[in-house]
Symmetry: C2
DNA sequence: CTCCTATGCAAGTAGATACTTGTATTCGAA
DNA sequence: TTCGAATACAAGTATCTACTTGCATAGGAG
């Protein structure tokens, strides 16, 4: 007789499974290996076999700890996004920095993080993420935008929240555009680009504070 | 006896093959179909089978006209890159526009092109291109950079060529960063982003012209 | 010790997709 | 009309890679 609801043996990833110390270490080692390979090859070129090989385990072992490739990328992306958001929130907690100083610090923190975790870029740009990882990623963007929006409104309280958020979003776009090049630039070219990043963002934002509504846009030369 | 160098029948793409009128039309139809599918699905999600289906031919027919998927992407990307470079070079051929007007026109031309050919973006960003297509793409970037560098030096002849090129490159990065969002923005949000694009680039460039070397960077607020 | 569960892997499978083969048909020039 | 070359496609193949299976070992709670 065929059982009505057979209890299948767990031969593949099980979210309820408990891990012992060895298992926890393997999982961390797999994440480290994945980070290294994603950083070298990008998301699409990276195979689960390559991650397993980098960690020194068989492909099957990988699937004891993660249900699929996307989950590995998502776990890394979530961790990084939370770390980076945390670092951003820690900037100028005493509120002693000027607008320019605070924004410069924000940019530096974000650039440093991306240099420290080169794989972060490909993970958030190329990888299909789980919904929770997507949320962490979106929160990260929002923290950046809110930081700038809050600082803008501290300088110019008459600025509407939506205008402030818009300018924060544009600053984020500029950041990403230059970051794309920064990740592939030669070490020699980097300092100049970092300075260009600060200039580009601050020169975009400062007129928001100094120009009245009448002269919002750039005047002809 | 086995022939020393058998002349194989051409059953697959042959670069020396001559095309008749029907063939030329098929090839163009395949390129149009590819453009449509690339635009809908992006490069990676697009399959050669889908392109063939869109063009109403069998997958085998596609390979009579292109050696592989990359060649299709490369052909499109090359065409677009040349078209866009041409459009950029045509801007202000009489030299009557001011710096701000000329740069604004450049930005508008580039934005319009990307809206008219939504697949261009995924092709140059995601697709692995042939070396000749990569060259066309790089030339396109250079045309953008040179346009701005030339205009900067026309306003400020003391600016070195390398400095001018650097600022052109940064302008291009800003353009790309905002363009990424523009391609996914709702129609309602687009005009505001387009204005932000102009502001971001011009606000970055204009201080290059007005600030002396002593005060190159943004002052503290 | 005992037994359940976690860990581990050799050796697969499954499914997707870029690309071919063999053959039939159409075109166009001589 | 004739014949080689170009066009067309049904029906594949080849390969890659995410993922599984079955089974062997290790480890900790009782």
């Amino acid at each position: 007789m065929i059982p009505f609801c057979e209890n299948p043996l767990v031969t593949v990833f099980d979210p309820n499974r408990k891990h012992n110390a060895r298992g926890e270490q393997r999982q961390q080692a797999l994440l480290r290996a994945a980070a290294a390979v994603f950083g070298r090859l990008g998301y699409h070129q990276t195979t689960t076999n390559a991650i397993a090989a980098e960690a020194g385990v068989s492909p099957a072992t990988l699937y004891q700890f993660f249900p699929n490739k996307e989950a590995i990328a998502s776990a890394l992306a979530s961790t990084y996004a939370r770390e980076m958001a945390e670092a951003e929130r820690a900037i100028d907690s005493e509120g002693v920095l000027s607008f320019t100083e605070a924004v410069s610090e924000l940019i530096d923190v974000c650039m440093s993080f991306n240099r420290k975790r080169p794989e972060f870029h490909t993970l958030v740009v190329d990888a299909p993420l789980s919904s929770s990882a997507r949320e962490d990623k979106q929160v990260l963007g929002q923290v950046f935008v809110d930081f700038i929006a809050t600082r803008l409104r501290r300088e110019l309280p008459t600025l509407s929240r939506s205008e402030a958020a818009h300018h924060g979003q544009v600053a984020l776009m500029i950041f990403r555009g230059i970051l794309d090049e920064l990740t592939v630039a030669s070490p020699h070219a980097r300092p100049r680009l970092q300075q260009a990043m600060r200039n580009a963002i601050l020169r975009y934002l400062i007129p928001v504070l100094t120009e009245s509504k009448a002269g919002r846009t750039v005047k002809g030369a």
